[in-house]
Symmetry: C2
Subunit: 257 residues, 2 copies
Amino acid sequence: RSVKIAITNQKGGVGKTTTAINLATSLAGRGKKVLMIDADPQGNASTGVGIGRADREISVHDVLLSDATLTAAAMSTSLANLSVVSAKPDLSSIDIDLGSQRDRFLRLKRAIDSDSGGDYDYILIDCPPSLNLLTVNALTAADQVIVPLQCEFFALEGLSQLLGSIREIRNSVNPDLKILGVLLTMFDTRNRLSDQVAQDVRANLGALVLKTVIPRNVRLSEAPSHGLPGVIYDPRSSGSIAYQKLADEVLHSTQTR
Amino acid sequence: RSVKIAITNQKGGVGKTTTAINLATSLAGRGKKVLMIDADPQGNASTGVGIGRADREISVHDVLLSDATLTAAAMSTSLANLSVVSAKPDLSSIDIDLGSQRDRFLRLKRAIDSDSGGDYDYILIDCPPSLNLLTVNALTAADQVIVPLQCEFFALEGLSQLLGSIREIRNSVNPDLKILGVLLTMFDTRNRLSDQVAQDVRANLGALVLKTVIPRNVRLSEAPSHGLPGVIYDPRSSGSIAYQKLADEVLHSTQTR
Ligand SMILES: Nc1ncnc2c1ncn2[C@@H]1O[C@H](COP(=O)(O)OP(=O)(O)OP(=O)(O)O)[C@@H](O)[C@H]1O
Ligand SMILES: Nc1ncnc2c1ncn2[C@@H]1O[C@H](COP(=O)(O)OP(=O)(O)OP(=O)(O)O)[C@@H](O)[C@H]1O
Ligand SMILES: [Mg+2]
Ligand SMILES: [Mg+2]
């Protein structure tokens, strides 16, 4: 009954965490019950919504490895309607911990599907910058994918490999997996490189590119140092307005299915 | 006889590849014989020095998995004194390919140490955004580490974990591993967040922070779309001048040892 969205791109620093935090918060602000799962050992998504390192008791690592339920791991935040399953650095050893267990790619899906406690409208999963076990778990558990794409040349390089991996997951473990869209991020109106990349991506991917474009906006990068999502820290900034629009676009695209 | 430098940070998008490319090119421009090893499946470092996807025959994957020598894998570039061992997307399956082979962390070190062909003054290794098998191979093979650190709040989060991992490698497989320095990147004089992060890092790490600071400079991000390093594409840009300075600082710090 929940819409499960993985936010992923193996290219680093493209705005995955910033998208997860601000989209989750904007959806929660529209009255939707949201769970954000931080599947990155760096734990930036947990920090970005104000969950301190010391408060992270039951984490994603416990859900994947020792069958802690999602309900047990979910923590409420200072934001109404938003809960988080946090990440700790121990998550970086998950590949070794799960070793070659046959169901190691299905752990997150099992945890989400077997948990009746939450009744969430949306579950967002923030992924690490890699096509590893954690990202595969997220793509197997999700029914939609958002691919943040920084408007820079290097970011284009990995896109076809990522779309290929998504296709492989769809053809094997998760036939329902759809691409909700490619989200252009850190679009800088002052430099023509952003325009070139945006035109290039639209020419190649057409309607897969979401209408909403996130501008480069320093208020978004200042917000985490205050433990707040950008859309709360400075709701009238250009970055926040864009993420609110993204929430509307996601609501429209997922509610009408 | 070569100085072997790993360029690593598990945080994504902090300027690892841009540093590898521009430092390698600047050192080569000063008459040093340089080999850059692209240990990231995205292959951005290979692209950034103009090596097309189709030209990448023997890659890092072959060196790690099937004992291809470094000499066989090294390709010359259009830049004098600079050779590259390129990366292809097949590298992303290296964890699975090497499985639980006992020496899987030593493969790159063995390949570098056993190769008498190159006689390089400097070997630079560009790492992926993760503390995985590839990064551990690079940290085991290297004798120095440069940690690019983006002047943003999230980038600070992962620093202590990374420094911890480097210490672990030094205490186990590579006692000679030293931190050459933490390099502040994408420093934006227009916003105070950069200053705050820089002050914070200097207060915590003191002399570990390199004197050279790389400014945010759009010419550096435009260069890869022309298949050229920034220091060649626009040598007088603020980013290029900073990387030339970095080369001087690295020469000074590694030659006088
Ligand atoms: N639209 C934006 N404008 C300005 N800064 C941004 C924007 N989006 C993200 N940032 C900043 O850029 C950096 C990278 O963003 P973020 O950490 O969200 O990317 P990521 O893809 O999650 O990175 P990683 O690959 O390490 O997980 C962060 O410091 C963030 O605050
Ligand atoms: N000083 C700079 N000023 C402006 N843009 C920069 C600078 N350094 C790097 N960039 C751009 O920022 C993006 C991220 O840099 P880069 O790809 O080098 O980081 P990385 O750490 O190698 O990323 P990954 O974690 O994906 O390997 C690239 O598009 C690059 O062109
Ligand atoms: Mg992130
Ligand atoms: Mg890189």
